[in-house]
């Protein structure tokens, strides 16, 4: 029962969420971008399952298609952060000298980068004609690259601890190479930590994409994203269009599911 609550339910939620996003074309009746201008802010009905937004676009479609963007950005960015963190952390952990100090210093540096401003600056210098997919890739890359430091530091520490263990030293003395040490001794110890970090970073990065888009800096209109859906809610007058808040319960459940799965609450790491 306890396992089901802590693992089964979150996994089930994530699977359903992922399938809904993938099957969006099948599960929706309207394009997320078509404006039914005679029906702005329409209430949920048989025609529009979750109603329409201020421009008369189907909220259900925008929720599912928007989820692809927001979750996609989170997945890509979290994967990038963890991969870079794993690579840098494992290499630094194995090294006792300059490399470790260099990686830790770089991590400190990246933690101090104001990535929001960095993103603004990068966007200003890029060509204007960027498709939503390119913007998504850009967002994910910047968020992911800027966020490697946290997992990187943790993984470095863990790798350094493993590196000091007797069986690793014995293997090294017997002539095991660096790659062998990483593959056979470090990775099995580091992967659970990397997975935990991934699960912790994922909701944060999804929220980062939502926040950036909410403030008009992410994927622009008319492409759907959860941030675009929520953006009109910044004004207190949008009380008649509460269906726009539909990404909120999904986001809250995502954070909870990832938290439960990461084992963070149980204090494993």
């Amino acid at each position: 029962m306890r396992w089901r609550l802590r693992t089964g339910l979150p996994v089930a939620y994530l699977v359903v969420l992922a399938f809904s996003m993938v099957l969006a074309p099948v599960l929706t009746m309207h394009s997320p971008e078509i404006q039914y201008r005679v029906a702005p802010c329409a209430a949920p009905s048989g025609r529009f399952l979750l109603g329409t937004d201020e421009l008369g676009r189907d909220v259900w479609s925008r929720l599912l298609y928007g989820g692809r963007v927001s979750l996609g950005a989170g997945l890509l960015a979290a994967s990038l952060s963890v991969c870079i963190g794993l690579l840098a952390g494992a290499s630094a952990g194995l090294s006792r000298g300059l490399l470790r100090r260099l990686v830790l210093a770089l991590a400190e540096l990246f933690l101090s980068v104001p990535w929001l401003y960095l993103l603004l600056a990068i966007r200003a210098f890029l060509p204007l004609t960027l498709s939503p997919a390119q913007v998504l890739l850009l967002l994910s890359t910047v968020i992911g690259a800027a966020g490697w430091a946290r997992p990187g530091r943790l993984i470095t520490q863990k790798a350094a601890e493993v590196r000091e263990r007797e069986y690793v030293e014995v293997a090294e003395n017997l002539g095991a190479g660096r790659w062998h040490l990483i593959r056979r001794h470090l990775l099995p110890e580091l992967l659970p930590l990397a997975l935990t970090q991934f699960l912790l970073l994922l909701p944060g990065y999804v929220l980062a994409e939502v926040t950036l888009t909410f403030f008009g800096l992410g994927v622009g209109e008319p492409a759907a994203s959860w941030g675009n859906l929520l953006a009109p809610l910044r004004h207190p007058a949008v009380v008649g269009c509460l269906q726009l808040a539909s990404p909120l319960p999904l986001l809250a459940a995502l954070v909870l599911a990832c938290e439960l799965l990461s084992g963070h609450g149980r204090g494993d790491y």
Partner: protein
Amino acid sequence: MPGLWLESIDVVIDSGREFRRLPAGCAKRDGRARPAWSPVLDVVWGRALPLVAGALALVLLRYLGGCGAHTANGRGGRLVYMQRGEPRTFNPMYALDDASHEVIWRMHADLIHINRETQKTEPALAESWSALPGGTGFRLNLRRNVRFSDGQPFDADDVLFTFQAHLDASVNSAQRELLLVQSRPIQVRKIDRYTVEFDLGGPYGPAERIFDSIAILPRHLLEHSYKSGQLPGQWGLATAPPAMAGLGPFRLKNYRSGEGLVLERNPYYWKQDSKGATLPYLNEILFRQVGNEEGQVLRFLGGEGDLLNRVSAKSFALLENDAKARHLDLRDLGAGPEYVFLFFNLNPANSVPASVAGKQVWFRDARFRRAVSLAIDREAMVRLVYGGRATPLATHVTPGIRMWTNSKIPPPVRSVADARKLLAEAGFRVADNQPLRDRDGRAVEFTILVSSSNQQRAQMAAMLQQDLKELGINSQVAPLERQTVQDRVLRSKNYEVCLFGLAFGDADPGSEMNVWPSSGPTHVWAPSQQQPGSDWEAEIDRLMRQQMATEGYGARKRLYDQVQEIEARETPIVSLLSPNVLVVARRGVGNFRPAVLDHYTLWNAEELFLGPEAGAAK
């Protein structure tokens, strides 16, 4: 004032209805000023004509006699004004932002003032004026016995000093450009202690409007700084109130960043009400700064303020719901001076990136621009983005600039069929459900640049995309930070199409001289050209210069009408809509007569007073 950037503002409307000031006790219904007890009239009308005639006579008398500024029953009190940002300076020579202007113009006065309500000039510190022979300038007779807010007397030397400082290029006054006529600085001469002559070098269309918004500065306080080159550093936010003086109705009492700014009554103010009582009525105005409109609205609903300037249609709708319960006086003044428009990059091909130059073949064809204009559903934008509180535009002259609109230009009507015909005429390949292609078979597509901080613009851009799709045009929206948008349009010229907003700085075409002549720095589609890029631009240049050098409203209007006709024909900008000016006051604020020009609710601050209802409303 020159045309202004309008990227952070989006506001108010009343679909061109006539707006008249109303006395207390009058209500505004169905767009007409009617007395609050007019339903009684409706009943009487059917029964006794003589009674009706008598009542009408009473109404007329009341209207004629009482619809101007009311004298206050009670003086004193503190009015709380909700301000969107902190002022950056108290120095009128260097103020560029709205927040600074809102404060500064309560502390200073000009020689001749444009009445924001009538949009006409009226005497201010100059009690009368006359044109010089040949119409080359003006002789101004100054008011006597006028004192600055520190008690020092005002005379022609202060006027001379003010204009000398503004016109001195080394001072870098933000208003210097306004005092150049045909690129030459105006000449100022003192005739006697209360008479000054201004030589404009030739006939000047806007005439005495040139004196509006030039604050007369106290020579006794600033001359030393001017001579020592310290003027730019004077009257910053840290300046102690006694070190400043002005000729406006209020003076600075205190300012604490983050807490608010208090202006107090100027005891030496020169203006009087119709009964001869000195103005202003209020003792103090508190400027309370709230960083964003949403916060302002919520705090206003919480009873924190008395006046709210220029809210968005969404906020207006929210406040409207609570207007009765919270005793709010909401006014929709109709189209303001702002116009939101779309324009294409028409800069010379050698000054733009190659990718943009390739698309300029389409942009330079007026039929293409007109087709885009025809395909846009402006009515839907007004309805969905502005909740009906905006006016669709055919040209850049909004109904708010009522003296200068060309009534012969028909209102914009959407017609995708006509747009397709125009495109076919221009050699484009038009086919149902197929991308639009040019003569060479290239698919027509472009990117629309838009400010990311303006939600209405983002929504309008999304609607544009769908409208253009009906022509087979595939467009993308690029939301960028406001400053980046301006930089790309005016400097790097690295953009294809842009959705933008500008505002008339004054209800006079003179304020558009930085926009419409091809050499204008804000001639957005091709700024600061050495030579006009086309014949029609050369014709606009000629007409704009001619109207600036022509005297008389009628003659100038005819010239400006021609500019608008060329604009409608050539469509250098696709005018979309003008947001309404929407303002709010707590009921009980007397003489609340907002105007569509700046500063909307505050322009007559000296006449505002707090009636007994104001306290109860809070």
